[in-house]
């Protein structure tokens, strides 16, 4: 199963607003500090932090593992999943554990993809956690 998460394409109005905000912040930074060595890295950092919003993230759920961009995770690593309104969190533990945020993988997903992924994970035998 292959999926693509691209919030900017789904909400072009919001994407435009974010671009406008970014431009506004850039011009404010330029007014306060008219120094390209400060303003440009600041803008680049801001733009980079918004990458997951503007750039599509591709997932591939295969029979042996999960691929998120260039990273690959074996299914043996996950035993349960938690569903929330923004996506699905895959965790190595069936009970809550302190290191699950470190080792788990959160998949941001659109609503219809989320339902499909949840169904697929259930079929794979992963436990759904509240």
């Amino acid at each position: 199963m292959e999926l693509c998460y691209h919030p900017a394409a789904r909400r072009p109005g919001l994407a435009l607003l974010v671009c406008f905000g970014l431009g506004l912040l850039g011009s404010a930074a330029w007014q306060l500090l008219p120094e390209p060595l400060v303003t440009l890295p600041l803008l680049a950092f801001l733009a980079y932090s918004l990458m997951p919003f503007f750039v599509p993230t591709r997932y591939r759920l295969g029979p042996t593992g999960l691929e998120v961009g260039a990273r690959r995770y074996a299914w043996e690593r996950f035993r349960a999943f938690v569903v929330d309104k923004n996506g699905v969190f895959l965790t190595p533990y069936r009970q809550s554990a302190p290191t699950e945020r470190l080792r788990g993988v959160f998949l941001p997903l659109h609503r219809e993809d989320r339902l499909q992924v949840v169904e697929w994970l259930r079929e794979r035998g992963l436990e759904e956690r509240a």
Partner: protein
């Protein structure tokens, strides 16, 4: 080696700390294995059998093996947590 280490860690309830350290130390694991190779002659003198020590060097040298160790610790820790119903 992986099974023995994982069981030892989980039995002592050190899984969260071990996972955190192994995950954080992954980028430096090769440096660690080289340091252990440097100390190998000393280990051979002090230890009765250095086979475990050599296995540890091999484990640290291979990131996939390290990942396998973390996964094994997680599997055992998951069983322990499920059993205790935490």
């Amino acid at each position: 080696m992986i099974d023995r280490l994982a069981e030892l860690v989980v039995r002592r309830e050190l899984a969260p700390l071990a996972i955190f350290c192994l995950e954080a130390g992954k980028p430096f694991s090769r440096v660690g294995s080289q340091a252990l190779i440097f100390l190998l002659p000393l280990a051979r003198t002090v230890l009765r059998s250095a086979s475990d020590y050599e296995e540890l060097i091999e484990l640290l040298d291979d990131r996939e093996q390290l990942e396998r160790l973390i996964c094994r610790i997680e599997a055992l820790e998951d069983e322990r947590l499920t059993r205790s119903g935490m």
